[in-house]
């Protein structure tokens, strides 16, 4: 086709486009709903949830996962658009990590030596990382689908950010099943699960995010 004819056709194309916010609301929202259904039907929500909500420690892992998911989203939003860089938004991710590490360290140092093993391993350290990855996968699919409608020009970085966002949101949902709430445990095993998702995104971004 001649270029002039192509331009005329593109200019006449009445197809409306979805805004980035709509695209991500659908992808991320759909993924989170799928993750909740998966957690509820396969893993089950923790039975003592009504009792646990009174404990502020119970909320810290949710605060951590939510903060990291928000930080991950603002980075993904930048990497989804050509010609913009995440820049200082990466500091947000770093700040959340520093906070959780400081919280875990403070708890570790203030606890008696005999309690250290319990804080570190909890009762579920073996399954924590694989289950966070499992719960995160539908969210990852949703975020990648949204990114594919955008135009990431740095696919490895965009894939990693998508993995970080999906891992954090997945960890949030997984928190309803998991009955651990020690900061030491969360700062190590939740972070490891989120890191695994970030690595998965970085490794697959090059193939998944081509356009």
């Amino acid at each position: 086709m001649r270029t002039d004819a192509l331009i005329a056709r593109l200019a006449e194309d009445p197809a409306p486009f979805e805004k980035l916010s709509t695209v991500f609301a659908k992808g991320l929202g759909g993924g989170v709903v799928a993750a909740i259904v998966l957690t509820w039907s396969v893993l089950g929500f923790r039975s003592d949830m009504l009792h646990a909500v009174a404990d502020w420690m119970y909320w810290s892992k949710f605060a951590y996962a939510l903060a990291l998911a928000i930080a991950g989203f603002v980075v993904v939003e930048r990497l989804a658009r050509p010609g913009t860089r995440p820049g200082r938004r990466l500091l947000l991710v770093a700040a959340v990590m520093v906070l959780i590490a400081a919280g875990g360290l403070a708890q570790w140092l203030s606890a008696p030596g005999a309690a250290h093993a319990g804080l570190f391993f909890g009762r579920s350290w073996r399954v924590c990382v694989p289950l966070i990855v499992l719960v995160s996968l539908p969210i990852f699919v949703g975020v990648i689908a949204a990114l594919r409608q955008m135009a990431p020009t740095r696919p490895i970085a965009a894939g990693a950010a998508a993995g970080l966002l999906a891992g954090s949101a997945g960890a949030f949902v997984y928190g309803f099943h998991c009955n651990e709430s020690a900061l030491v445990f969360v700062s190590i095993w939740y972070s490891a699960g989120i890191a695994a998702m970030t690595a998965l995104g970085a490794l697959t971004g090059r193939w998944l995010l081509r356009w």
Partner: protein, 182 residues
């Protein structure tokens, strides 16, 4: 009048913002305006004009299908340039060409224009590069810098007749290379 001088970031962005709001006329004008810039951008980086035109069309389609990714709070030329560069790198990778694409300033793309003179000059340089050094120097002096045979002979230390023969043979070689029967 060069397009690059009149249409800058401000005007292109205004057209894009209007286009996103549903102004088909502004959108048509935007794509029309961008095309020669894109053509020059790709032609400068690729050898064949047909390849460059394919990339121009691919980039126009990407601009269209990825228009939701433009943030109106950000510069338009940076967005455009990143898309063009992505398409170029993608093409070079697919075709197995190893080439480094410099990270230029975002406004580099609108600073270029597809002036015929610039392209012709580049073609001449490409052709000249295929000649041996001595012949290239001679041809440049006589045909491009406009020295007379006598001046060229003095400058190169050759005899006038050697200069004439050398220039003639070089031209013949170049014509053969581009497929013109002398």
């Amino acid at each position: 009048m060069r397009i690059a001088e009149v249409r800058g970031e401000v005007e292109l962005k205004a057209l894009m913002v209007a286009a996103l709001a549903g102004d088909g006329v502004a959108y048509h004008r935007l794509l029309k305006t961008l095309t020669p810039h894109l053509r020059a951008y790709f032609a400068r980086r690729l050898n064949r004009a047909a390849e460059a035109e394919d990339l121009v069309q691919e980039t126009l389609i990407a601009i269209h299908s990825k228009r939701a990714s433009f943030d109106t709070a950000q510069p338009f030329t940076a967005w455009l340039y990143a898309i063009a560069r992505y398409k170029l790198i993608d093409y070079l990778r697919k075709s197995g060409i190893r080439k480094t694409v410099a990270l230029e300033e975002a406004d580099a793309i609108t600073a270029e224009s597809d002036s015929d003179a610039a392209e012709a000059a580049r073609d001449v340089e490409h052709l000249l590069a295929t000649l041996p050094d001595a012949k290239r120097t001679l041809l440049r002096k006589v045909k491009l810098e406009g020295l007379s045979t006598a001046e060229a002979a003095a400058a190169t230390g050759m005899s006038e007749s050697a200069v004439k023969v050398g220039v003639h043979r070089s031209l013949q070689a170049l014509m053969k290379r581009i497929g013109v029967k002398p």
